[in-house]
């Protein structure tokens, strides 16, 4: 805000206040001091106000920074600042073995860990040429966990999105349901997030006893509970007033910016990689691709709601398909040797496996030692593998030079690409609509910055 000379701040907060800079007067707004800011701006002859939202604003989905130029209540320009969560995971992967990479990639988009792991492992398996050898049971478990993960991720999107619009009940419902899904994850992998459960060649361990019953029970309960959220928000006048026609982005805009996921499907294009470029046998499952034609936040909300129902259908089909069998490839030169078990102190090597390598088989000990210290070699080459994550196309481009470590791994994260649409969705709208628009993109900053 430029041009104000005579504004002094008289509020009680010593951290807040106004100071002069070369760009004009800068106000630090900390809450409950709005009046003094309004007075200051009213006295100024400058129409343009620049508002810095974030990076620690509760409505920006993590450490996202939005710089909004306002003319009154209208947003005239939006700039997006990212990078606050840059963790260098892509670089770190180059210094770890192929299997250790899973531990890193699961932490990128922390709301959809199973998608990160599966995309990475599918790419590594393609380079190894063992895609066909991955046991059926491992693939079914992967699909089942990914679909449960889609539900838990969409629930966070609905919960935080609802909360940002003031619908606190939506948040309570969303997190309540998500807890049920996380209980399943904890039962299966030992962890609520950052599982590192999907490994090149299969999964880390088989489903524990009772998991199938627990999942079936959870599916029934979720289906019942989803009705609460649907009854609360679908067609709700207040909710629709905040989301209908907000965050508009049409098909042409999506194509030019590379937007995928619910944002793209809200334009009516049934683009879902599970159908268009099937992986993990998705072509054999029965489910529908949900689309809307409204191109707005409300349409994206409806898509997420319906997709959760479709995911439940897939999980049920997975439960029917689960047949006893191995969950890791046969090849002992690739299969991670650890047979994990959950003990009283968490997940670790099972005692049976330790007895086997230490007392029974010299060969098993050698494989264990080689794989754990050095890892397996992956033939030189490059592949691109994409999966449909809750936010859109999550792709991984893996380059190998034939060594035991990745030469280069690039993640095409949907949050990163979709966030580019922020300006197109927000400019020309009101300040309050920025929140609804960003919430409908559902960015996860861990995935954006990597």
């Amino acid at each position: 805000m430029a041009g104000t000379d005579d504004v002094t701040y008289t509020g009680g907060d010593s951290y807040a206040g106004a100071r002069e800079t070369t760009e004009g007067t800068v106000y630090t707004v900390t809450g409950q001091d709005w009046d003094s800011v309004v007075q200051g701006v009213a006295a100024s002859d400058e129409e343009r106000v620049v508002v810095n939202m974030g990076p620690q604003h509760p409505s920006t989905h993590g450490v996202l920074r939005l710089i909004l130029e306002l003319d009154g209540e209208t947003v005239t320009e939006t700039r997006v600042g990212v990078g606050y969560l840059h963790t260098g995971i892509e670089k770190n992967l180059e210094y770890r073995s192929w299997t250790q990479g899973v531990t890193f990639v699961t932490r990128m988009d922390y709301l959809s860990p199973f998608f990160n792991e599966t995309a990475y492992c599918l790419a590594v398996e393609k380079l190894l040429g063992i895609t066909e050898q991955v046991p059926e049971r491992a693939t079914v478990i992967r699909v089942m966990l990914m679909e449960l993960n889609r539900i838990s991720s969409h629930l966070v999107a609905l919960a935080t999105g609802g909360m940002e619009l003031g619908a606190l009940t939506a948040m309570i419902f969303g997190f309540r349901e998500r807890e049920l899904v996380l209980d399943v994850f904890e039962l299966v992998t030992g962890l609520r997030m950052n599982h590192a459960y999907v490994r090149p060649g299969g999964v880390a361990q088989d489903l524990p006893p009772g998991a199938v019953d627990k999942i079936a029970e959870t599916v029934t309960q979720l289906r019942r509970n989803f009705k609460d959220t649907a009854d609360l928000l679908e067609g709700n006048g207040i909710f629709m007033a905040r989301t209908e026609g907000i965050g508009y982005l049409d098909l042409a805009g999506c194509m030019a910016l590379g937007i995928t996921g619910p944002v793209l499907r809200s334009t009516g294009l049934p683009w879902d990689l599970r159908k268009t470029q099937p992986y993990c046998g998705y072509e054999t499952y029965e489910f529908d691709v949900v689309t809307q034609t409204t191109c707005d936040s409300y349409g994206r909300f409806l898509i997420r709601l319906r997709e959760m129902g479709e995911s439940l259908k897939i999980v049920e089909q997975c439960l029917d398909r689960l047949q006893p069998g191995p969950v890791m490839v046969e090849d002992k030169k690739i299969a991670w040797p650890a047979q994990l078990a959950i003990g009283s102190d968490g997940m670790g090597n099972s005692l049976d496996h330790i007895r086997h390598i230490m007392g029974e088989s010299m060969e098993a000990l050698i494989h264990h030692f080689k794989l754990v210290t050095e890892g397996f070699h992956v033939p030189a080459g490059q592949v691109y593998q994409a999966v449909e994550s809750p936010r859109g196309e999550l792709g991984v481009h893996v380059v190998s030079d034939g060594g035991t470590r990745p030469y280069r791994v690039h993640f095409r994260d949907p949050s990163f690409t979709n966030l580019q649409a922020t300006a197109a969705m927000c400019e020309g709208g009101q300040v309050a609509d920025v929140i609804a628009a960003v919430a409908s993109i559902d960015p996860v900053m861990g995935g954006v910055d990597r």
Partner: protein, 179 residues
């Protein structure tokens, strides 16, 4: 011949003899010379119908420079193609693709941050994922990840106490790196 391979051959045909197709593990990549980079993207978009810009990134190819690669998709058929060009290490610069695909914007800025490859004519250049003034380009191979060797492990039981043994080095960190 797969549809994808056919797409690659057609793009090569449009660009002349300087481009070539590579197929490995079912992945079709078209290598184009640096001066044909934008022409290749325009041809892919307008003639081949690859209107969906997916992503752009790079690989450090050491003496061969940087391999800048971008992934394009035909939204009608779901056919896809990797288009790649080599940028010399001593002068890592290529024209920005933002005029062809608007979505290339952030991908190019990220690549500039992490590899130091400059995209000439980018409308809003500047750091995206790295802090202002960060020295070096982390994804270049000469940028060695030595954080673990330079800093004591923060999770030891007794902070500040050393065992007297050198810290184990992460895989790939050369012995001369670090303190």
């Amino acid at each position: 011949m797969t549809a994808r391979r056919d797409l690659g051959e057609r793009l090569c045909g449009l660009l002349g003899a300087s481009a070539r197709v590579e197929e490995l593990d079912g992945e079709v990549t078209v290598d184009v010379p640096l001066e044909a980079w934008l022409a290749a993207l325009v041809a892919a978009r307008d003639v081949l119908g690859l209107t969906f810009f997916d992503w752009l990134s790079a690989t450090d190819e050491l003496d061969l420079g940087f391999g800048v690669v971008c992934h394009l998709v035909d939204p009608r058929t779901a056919d896809r193609l990797l288009v790649r060009t080599a940028v010399p290490r001593d002068r890592p610069e290529l024209p920005s693709a933002t005029g062809v695909y608007r979505g290339a914007d952030w991908h190019e800025r990220e690549t500039t941050d992490l590899f130091g490859v400059v995209f000439a004519g980018h409308p809003r250049p500047g750091p995206l994922v790295l802090p202002q003034g960060f020295a070096g380009h982390p994804l270049r191979k000469e940028f060695v990840l030595e954080a673990r060797t330079a800093r004591p492990w923060p999770g030891s039981v007794e902070p500040g106490r050393t065992t007297g043994r050198p810290l184990p080095r992460p895989l790939g960190v050369p012995p001369e790196a670090g303190p």
